[in-house]
Subunit: 327 residues, 4 copies
Amino acid sequence: MDYNIIRVARVTMNVTDLNAAKDFYVNALGFIETESTNEYMALRGLEEHVHHSLLLRKADKPGVHALGYKVWEESDLEKLEQFFQTRGSRTAWLEKGAQPGVGRALRAEDVSGIPVEFFAEMDGAERCLQKYDLYRGARVQRIDHVNCMVPDVEGAVKFYTEELGFRVSEYTATEEDRTWAAWLHRKPTVHDVAFMNGEGPRLHHVGFWLSDPMSLIHCCDVMASMGYADNIERGPGRHGLSNAFFLYVRDPDGNRIELYNGDYLTSDPDFKPVKWDINDPRRQTFWGHKAPDSWFNEAVSFLDIETGAEVAKKQPLLAQRKPDFVT
Amino acid sequence: MDYNIIRVARVTMNVTDLNAAKDFYVNALGFIETESTNEYMALRGLEEHVHHSLLLRKADKPGVHALGYKVWEESDLEKLEQFFQTRGSRTAWLEKGAQPGVGRALRAEDVSGIPVEFFAEMDGAERCLQKYDLYRGARVQRIDHVNCMVPDVEGAVKFYTEELGFRVSEYTATEEDRTWAAWLHRKPTVHDVAFMNGEGPRLHHVGFWLSDPMSLIHCCDVMASMGYADNIERGPGRHGLSNAFFLYVRDPDGNRIELYNGDYLTSDPDFKPVKWDINDPRRQTFWGHKAPDSWFNEAVSFLDIETGAEVAKKQPLLAQRKPDFVT
Amino acid sequence: MDYNIIRVARVTMNVTDLNAAKDFYVNALGFIETESTNEYMALRGLEEHVHHSLLLRKADKPGVHALGYKVWEESDLEKLEQFFQTRGSRTAWLEKGAQPGVGRALRAEDVSGIPVEFFAEMDGAERCLQKYDLYRGARVQRIDHVNCMVPDVEGAVKFYTEELGFRVSEYTATEEDRTWAAWLHRKPTVHDVAFMNGEGPRLHHVGFWLSDPMSLIHCCDVMASMGYADNIERGPGRHGLSNAFFLYVRDPDGNRIELYNGDYLTSDPDFKPVKWDINDPRRQTFWGHKAPDSWFNEAVSFLDIETGAEVAKKQPLLAQRKPDFVT
Amino acid sequence: MDYNIIRVARVTMNVTDLNAAKDFYVNALGFIETESTNEYMALRGLEEHVHHSLLLRKADKPGVHALGYKVWEESDLEKLEQFFQTRGSRTAWLEKGAQPGVGRALRAEDVSGIPVEFFAEMDGAERCLQKYDLYRGARVQRIDHVNCMVPDVEGAVKFYTEELGFRVSEYTATEEDRTWAAWLHRKPTVHDVAFMNGEGPRLHHVGFWLSDPMSLIHCCDVMASMGYADNIERGPGRHGLSNAFFLYVRDPDGNRIELYNGDYLTSDPDFKPVKWDINDPRRQTFWGHKAPDSWFNEAVSFLDIETGAEVAKKQPLLAQRKPDFVT
């Protein structure tokens, strides 16, 4: 069964201060603000033709409401409802208008307990791709992927590939050949979603695509100029895995954003997933730098699709929490 | 009917001197040479995991044997054979091994008389994406698209969209709202194939993707250093249409190659094709530069799928051959 | 005699509309505005620690008041006054405060009739080098050089090298080995001032240094977005001569600005000036592009140091006005 | 007294394996090899018009023979000899030909015991600035500066500014307003030589200028591809001090090389030295990253100008060895 999932398309998450978030996301990172109220702010990248890819909701503390995937057409939503109900997942509908700019949406829980959302329709918005005079900071172009820590990566991979039609581009294996992390895609890039072994489910980061490597360097300079040097957590560097030129930054509430350039085309069914040894230093950082502990330990809780309470977390199945070379 | 065409994947064309071609494509542009004989040279980009995307055949004069598209699986080829035969097109099979590195391939003629080829299988090759010490010249990453001059662009667009499942990302319209040029894709980039109004069918250029804009600038410098300044035909510049940062170069036989960086994601079915007025100067070159006449007038003949003779050309349906602002 | 000239430091020239100039220089090119009135606007680059490097004066038509050179100390000005008077040049003093931000200044006429100015003191201003959040457009860093058309290049070179202590870094020679153009420096870059054979004296352009090549590419995009595509006259390209990565733009009044990155260190007395044949296509544009006729024909008049009237122009000594390959 | 020192121009130091050094400096970093024997290798950057800027001598262990400064003319050498002898420093002459490519050279000891060398003449070599097809790795352009750890920074600054005519561009002060580090220049860039408080005298690093920031990023990728990831010690990052975009790498013998782009013009006598608080995190790394301990602790010994034995080291006058924020 093919549910015609096109790509990861939006994330809804909390921030505690919308003004602080605006300064960070719009002025420092270069997002375009589509719309704001006292309750939320809708942000899109420069090339995005839709209302938003990041919806920030004002709340008392961080938390992720849903990871949203765009499907081809409305009827795919009914098929997905049936699929999730057959599996015993709770589901919930958000009618058109319940969320700013978003059409009818189906929420459900994936195999790891992550709140996922599917929708076919979103309001349009002006594409600013060629409004270069609006380019600021990192010049964020579009949402690229989400990355989650889950207790059972192999279970998550099986669910997304066998049930939802994702394909694996690259993965990390332990010495016992267990899958420690995996990168999965629907659109033919390295990923729409990745899973890493860890206490979870938690959202590790949301990745946004940049047009070129110099925009990432410039963003470091802009962040430092604006007083955000402490919000740069890791990078700039090159991931061996995915070949991404990356920068990880933390927003004022600690939500982690990856600025990302590199990637490659994964369209071909005979492309063989790239396997990496977890203890190969070039996997994490091609140039050999170690990631800070915070990058391995800190992530954001998901919120229940009905109650809004934090989704319960479990300890990971695999013992190793980070590579050997990170001491 | 969906024939599961994934993407444009290879071009087979003639050169008159394989050594001259090697210096140009490998040393100046940075292709990886997979294999060479006295009769052909197979080239791939740095990220390509397959035998080649450009097959150059030694011949007395230029000519394009086929534009090759990769399909999902072997059974798609039979469906395509039936489709083309139903339409009255001649078809021809090249068995596995008949072409270096390529599995069984179906050749046919598209609605404009262009020799097209479909195949599901190609030999693998080492991906050099992370062999940065091999990076040279433009650091060509992968094939991106082909661009053809045809007499009836609207007919070609109808054929590719209604019969073969391509979608239009952008198009150019005349004052009478006739489609003068169109960019069509299967993979979610701006295009796999584009058609422009002109005497044809002829191959205008093959486009290759670069990882970043500075590689394009460096390629200009390398070409000039090596004595290839006269082979730079147009650019560097920015296309309004497609937002590509481009450079057009001519190989020693006059075959035109576009080096290309920019693009954007076209995955969404509700993405509305971008319409450009042919006489909008920013369409052709966002920065306002005029293209040289050679760019509008010169292109390479296609060769018959059975006889190898040049495919007959027709005059274009639309009178205007180039934009008003190019005098 | 050494007059301790440090570098070219400022240009004072007319514009007809200060608001139009502000949009162009500040919003599109990225200059910092130090100060403005109804009569003038003082602009500086991001790294400049002084009041301005470009002073735009409101006037009815274009014209250049003076090319300003910074000297080591006040006493150098008296020595220069004596030098110019000995040579029969008129001189004029502008007391401190007569020009915004500038200390006492000596004006005189060089051998070609160009109004030159010398000063030791200028008011300080905040350096914005590390205020990356202020970076816009081309991110102009500092003034680099001026380029003038003069009727007698060899006479100008003799005057600047033998009398004022400049050194030649590169020059262009005709077939008869006459110097057609020359690049001269005091600071150890390729030039502070260049002279080209042509009707003159006229100011051809003022060159500003950029921090990196991508800022130049971004400026093209920003200019096009803002409607300034027609103000891009030439480039981006690479000069063979000087190795500059260049862009020539025209301000709303037609004053020509070069955005410039590349250069090299010319500090050593045993560095031999690089000689170029005027008809070597790589001299003008390393990548082989032709310059438009406007680039060879159009330049701005200088104004008399006393009367403010246009300085009389003469026809050039050498017949050839532009390279052979520019038809 | 002005000794007409132009710039730092060469460093002579030991490596234990010339083949390993060649792979590192030529293949990975992109130096041009001028000449090699079993005993030494002479390297230059792409824009350098002279025999070498780095002379590597085969030896049993690391050690730095001399930091070499170019002076304007031969007679400056006699003046320098007299100066050093008056101060009680030993001096030694190396006649022309005693060192490959170098004319007559005077060696002496500076106030910190560092072996310095002065020369006016060096053999010429082909400039490869526009041989872009030879560009590899970091595309090293030219020598920029040397950086030394010395026990008494204030003494060194006094010596170089008051006796040898250097000027300070930036400096780091402790809470007690003692100078902890200083950057000094003769050519109008941020520095020719810098001194940092530490056990010494020792050579901390030699800095080489790159043409653009992307060359530095590419060098990281090339080094990782070639197995040199462990040789990347620090960066890429931005120094607050000097505004340099930097990368510190260690050669196979541990000699530290800085790849450097950024800088600014320091020609003006009224440019006020920039003062930084040692504990301002933005001083060391504008983006907030900490430097590794090895960067603060490890440096290379100098060798006696007569005996070749290691120059004795002293403990630093100021207690603080590194910034507070580096724990």
